[in-house]
């Protein structure tokens, strides 16, 4: 897991979802964040938009609240790695 990926996750949780910074560790499960299913969906959307990826639903259903933040970071990195290459000139 790249530390910058996790830092991005933690900053979104703290800034947008008012989760205590001490609570945002790689071992924290989604369930332990204290967010309901709608807020969890919003959080996953926010992370996907931040990295411009989609995590396939079969890999991450936010209702599977046992997933931890370290796992989420890995899923994001996997999605970034499998993102189709873009034409840099046209963005």
């Amino acid at each position: 897991m790249n530390p910058s990926t996790f830092e991005a996750i933690a900053s979104v949780l703290v800034d947008q979802f008012h989760v205590e910074a001490a609570k945002a560790t790689p071992e924290t499960t989604l369930e332990q964040l204290g967010l309901d299913s709608l807020a969890l969906m919003e959080f996953v959307f926010a992370m996907e938009d931040r990295f411009d990826v989609r995590i396939p639903e079969e890999n991450l259903d936010p209702r599977q609240a046992g997933i931890n933040l370290g796992h989420l970071a890995q899923l994001l990195e996997d999605a970034v790695a499998s993102r189709p290459a873009r034409d840099v000139a046209t963005g």
Binding site: D15, Q16, H18, L35, D36, A39, M41, F45
Partner: protein
Amino acid sequence: MTASAPVAVTGGGVVSPIGNDLAAFAETLFAGRSALHSQTLDLPGIDPPAAAVASATFDASRVMAPSRVPLDRGTAMALVAASDAARAAGLVAGGYEPERLGIFWGSGMAGAATFETTCRTVYAERRRMRPTSVVTTMPNAPAAELALLFGARGAALSYACACASSAVAIGEAMRAIRAGWIDVAIAGGSESMLTPGVLASWQAMRVLAPVQGADAAAACRPFSADRTGFALGEAAAAFVLESQAHAKRRGAKARWHLTGYATNCDGLHITNPDAAGQARAMRAALADAGLDAGAIGHVNAHGTATAAGDAAEAESIARVFGAHGVPVSATKAIHGHLLGAGGAVELLAALLALEARRLPPTAHTQRIDPAFALDLVMGESRESPALTHALSSSFAFGGTNAVLVASRAVPA
């Protein structure tokens, strides 16, 4: 509690262009210092490309939603104003029965700004709609978040009647308390929609005052011979209202009393005001308070500074109070037209005037329209040593009229 009993106001809170606490608000109000400034509109094909607005100094990102979903800026303002009101009233969890607490909230277009921003992102950047778009932008989002914040179980009601929304919300809370449905209410209103699309919509109606270079601060001149319309603003104001018995039981002191309320409608025209409907509403509110017109020492007018709006209101005030019969202030000149929040913020202005026994000036109006038989407070604030009762009016697009009568908590 009887149908006409005074309702105790035990606390107030505000986020506004002229102050984020009651003391700062009062200081700016009595000084007549304008918060209006020019804002460029980032929108294709817009003409003119700027409008006068009154924005609040407010960081919405620091406000935590009780629901944890993203907050519309107006809802964030509502949460802060209501928290401050509850703190001022000493209303804390455990100090009230949740089943006897209701939320009564007014907003004209709650969520419109977030919805506009979201749609711009979706169309322009081909983004997805967010899972929380509905709950962030629904018009009852402020009332819903407030109900979560206070754990209310009695009522969570939202009123959307344009510029009268929060006056109606406060009045309906009064009625619910008087009728014994609840003991205590968080009542008020919020509005924050200084976005290009919303500003352009109002500009297209030709009701916004043109921005005249450096004079943007003085763009809104209610009842003036040279008035040209209003400027939009953003704000929230909240009050803790309760029965006097409830306030006494928990040892809370009434800072003011709400003594009268009436609402009616014109049913004549979608935007044109009707002096007859306004006069009926003012008389009904006086009757509800058990007061004669002569007992009212101050009217905080709706005063939009539009040609038609001020003409109708000058006529209705003169019909009820007689020519030059009561001192009148119009405070939109300094805080802008706050739409759904206007009735609550302007009630706060009237309450602070009652408390200080000082009437705020109608800023920037130097010469009153000669057609108006009004005693308009102009220039500087005016002392009013015997002031005991005041009236605050809100007259909305759509024809809803709402009038509140407030009184000093300790009679002179």
